[in-house]
Symmetry: C2
């Protein structure tokens, strides 16, 4: 495969640990751009849902939103297609170092991911423990199993270590989460003929 | 299959032609809700992309966007999953009765649909000729063929009649576009075992 590397303008003096301060959202955005440019997969972040209350039109072509409110998202933040499969996930960061508080994920987002799974898509969450510099992928199956068997309001780090998959830090893309998807759903990436 | 009908609050005196004034977006929204409620498919409209310039926080829990601008969408309006397949489409209405002006669809939206197709998804556009009360589904393949073989800045109605698929008006959902997708990709809906 011919990989074209995405030009990381601000990363000229790149070192493995240099961008540890980068947000999870930024890392996923770079990964998605890398996947698109190299024709690996088409995955986007959905726009933030808002309710618009007031719009001004100072000129015919221009519109300025003067009043709007954030809405609770009805689905997850990311979706797209990879090797013919529908992909859908939510990504969250926590500063806690021993557990991930479940209040970070809405119940209807979990129901959405379950429905995706049922319809033949690949649903998961990506959770970053920012103080540990560790990012895990947890499939909706494993998340559901935890929720059905626990009354805790958080998922302990050990559960991610045991049932999730650590997304290894790479050069480019830094957060290659599709590598985990390959291992889980596409026979380690060896079976590429799913389209 | 057990079909639960979506309660159409405002449609108590429903007749086939009663809602002809309804917008395409509204019809698709009702269809998507019907598909979700009946567990047929999970398809959503993406939120309108905006750039937020100013946010006020009158209280700790409340945020009011005081200045924002509409962004050109980088993808299409709708995507989701149906019978294990990734679905992606753009929907447009025109008041013209003989042709559909191509300026209604951005070039990068067409590129996006082509990429979806290439990665094994189902990409298409839905076009409503509102003065004719007719709504067509045109696959990205057929759209691409037209663009490659024409220099016109619009697609004539005849092309939709010949190469597209008329979405028949039904009781519920009114605009059952997945019926066309069934005919095209799932052997008329008889092959249901694609998950």
């Amino acid at each position: 495969m011919n990989i074209r590397y995405y030009k990381q303008k601000s990363f000229s003096n790149y070192s493995t640990y240099a961008n540890r301060g980068m947000s999870l959202e930024h890392d996923i955005s770079l990964a998605n751009e890398f996947y698109r440019i190299n024709d690996i997969g088409i995955i986007y972040k959905k726009p933030t849902p808002i309710t618009i209350a007031k719009v001004n039109y100072p000129s015919r072509k221009e519109a300025i939103i003067k009043e709007a409110y954030f809405k609770t998202p009805s689905t997850t933040d990311y979706n797209g297609i990879y090797k013919g499969k529908y992909l859908d996930f939510e990504a969250k960061e926590t500063k806690k170092d021993k557990y991930f508080p479940l209040e970070n994920i809405h119940e209807h987002q979990i129901s959405h991911l379950k429905a995706i799974n049922k319809h033949g898509g690949i649903g998961f969450i990506i959770v970053r423990f920012s103080s540990l510099y560790k990012t895990y992928l947890l499939t909706i199956d494993k998340l559901e199993y935890f929720l059905n068997n626990n009354k805790r309001k958080s998922i302990p780090l050990e559960y991610f270590e045991k049932e999730g998959f650590l997304i290894k830090e790479k050069y480019n893309p830094r957060l290659d989460y599709l590598e985990v998807i390959d291992k889980l759903y596409f026979d380690g990436g060896q079976n590429e003929s799913t389209n």
